[in-house]
């Protein structure tokens, strides 16, 4: 399994899109840190990139990569290999290389300009989001046989997590605004990795004071060490569950 991972990794790391993506992230983060007058402002602007661009690139790139590797995957499936191993290798290769790009493109600038608790937590969240969206992409690719449908599905999932979900939350908030919804919000945030990551980063920033009572509820829950561990566990859970689901589908899939 290590061997296939190694070959997938070397293949992806030479990919022009990945190289371009790394450079793009590096340019964006360096220019943000240099343009904004303080590192914490730069970090705040970078947060949008981490929450929107990274999931989008990860999900689209991974989906396309899986579809483009369809014949190669078929060939490997015909070899004496467990499908589980193969799928896990692909996942590790994709997640590993995209995470590597992220570390170079955003991790290093953040460490250089804003090596604070907020900076560290943003790197952690970016890495987790990268891996989660690779898993989501693999899920989309395994359930849709057609490439166009698969890419469509993965973009839709991205749109759902970055936009539609929040729209639903807003809708629920206004439908039930006479009820105390803070606990509901805590649960809801666990249902969307992008929201959870955003909240984890914002809680570390001083802007968290703007969040009022709901913010305080969140801080009580996620702001503690236990809460931090719970949040990380939830995000890891996202990776495990989505990947496991895609694996189950892949094992039974007709190629």
């Amino acid at each position: 399994m290590k061997k296939i991972t190694k070959y997938v990794l070397t293949d992806i790391l030479r990919n022009k899109i990945i190289i371009g993506y790394t450079i793009f992230l590096l340019l964006i983060s360096l220019s943000l840190f240099n343009l904004e007058d303080s590192a914490s402002k730069g970090l705040l602007s970078l947060l949008n990139i981490v929450l929107i661009i990274i999931p989008l690139v990860c999900v689209i790139f991974s989906t396309i990569y899986i579809y483009n590797s369809a014949e190669f995957i078929e060939l490997l499936v015909s070899q004496p290999l467990k499908r589980k191993q193969l799928w896990l290798s692909l996942f590790t290769g994709l997640a590993g290389s995209l995470a590597f790009s992220f570390l170079i493109g955003i991790g290093i600038p953040v460490l250089l300009y804003a090596a604070t608790a907020t900076g560290y937590i943003m790197i952690a969240m970016g890495l987790l989001l990268t891996v989660i969206f690779v898993a989501i992409a693999m899920f989309a690719a395994v359930i849709a046989r057609d490439k166009a449908k698969g890419i469509g599905l993965s973009i839709f999932l991205w749109l759902y997590f970055s936009l539609l979900f929040d729209g639903l939350i807003l809708f629920v908030l206004f439908q039930f605004q006479d009820y105390p919804l803070e606990k509901f919000m805590v649960v809801a945030s666990a249902l969307n990795p992008i929201d959870l990551s955003r909240i984890m980063v914002l809680l570390k920033m001083d802007t968290s004071a703007l969040m009022g009572y709901t913010g305080a509820v969140f801080r009580d829950f996620f702001g503690t060490n236990t809460g931090f561990i719970i949040a990380i566990a939830i995000l890891l859970g996202w990776i495990v569950v989505v990947f496991w689901w895609s694996l189950r589908k892949f094992i039974r899939k007709d190629l």
Partner: protein
């Protein structure tokens, strides 16, 4: 060696395999023939475990393949279209496959095709720069690389130039003579004449017949495979 019993596979409403049974033994070279969409590729994929039958089962050396993935170390497979990760070199593809398989069989690797196709000169080339024909050569070389007992070749000569096609045929013949089981699908019936011993003819997911080539020739009175098949078709 390979026994398929009542294998049925449906994709939606379409029955790609309909109650297919077949027995393939060592030393045979079987041509899998039929029009497009007749279920040839699905049958091959079922044997390789890439497609899981809805019902029926396939055994390899007496063991049901569904719970066993190690049997594939005895198979060399050449797919219809070979595509490989764009940024890998030919050399990397070979060494990756060796990494995956070589230590499991313990047999020495057979690089004769790599040399015959001249691929050893191209080991540094990246896969995305290769023509379709060269990729076919890579696929063919990979299928024979590990001296497998069973060779499954899906349209092996499609896209190959006549010379390479001849090299490949020679290789298939010599492997058959070593007592291996060879399964070939091909549209170009004329080139199969000299290779095959048996014919499986499929249509609409059904096996129409499974005969020795000599029997087929006897029944139809035709020497050439193409003509023999045509004569069978016309009788229906």
């Amino acid at each position: 060696m390979i026994i398929a019993s009542n294998v049925t596979k449906k994709f939606g409403k379409l029955a790609a395999l309909n109650n297919v049974s077949a027995t393939c033994n060592k030393g045979e070279c079987i041509a899998l023939i039929g029009p497009n969409g007749s279920g040839k590729t699905t049958f091959i994929k079922s044997i390789l475990g890439m497609v899981v039958p809805d019902s029926g089962f396939i055994t390899f050396n007496g063991r049901n393949i569904i719970h066993d993935w190690m049997y594939r170390r005895h198979i060399g497979y050449m797919p219809q279209i070979g595509r490989y990760p764009d940024n890998m070199t030919i050399g990397q593809v070979f060494s990756m496959m060796k990494d995956i398989r070589a230590h499991k069989t313990g047999k020495p690797v057979d690089e004769s095709l790599i040399k015959a196709f001249g691929l050893d000169q191209l080991l540094q080339k990246r896969m995305r720069t290769l023509s379709g024909g060269t990729r076919q050569k890579v696929s063919a070389s990979l299928a024979f690389l590990f001296n497998p007992d069973v060779l499954i070749l899906d349209e092996p000569t499609a896209g190959l130039d006549p010379l390479s096609s001849e090299i490949l045929k020679e290789k298939i013949k010599s492997e058959k003579d070593k007592g291996k089981l060879v399964l070939i699908t091909s549209h170009i019936l004329s080139e199969l004449d000299e290779l095959i011993t048996h014919v499986i003819y499929m249509q609409d997911g059904n096996v129409q017949f499974h005969k020795k080539l000599s029997d087929l020739q006897k029944d139809t009175g035709e020497e050439k495979l193409a003509r023999a098949i045509a004569s069978v078709m016309s009788k229906k």
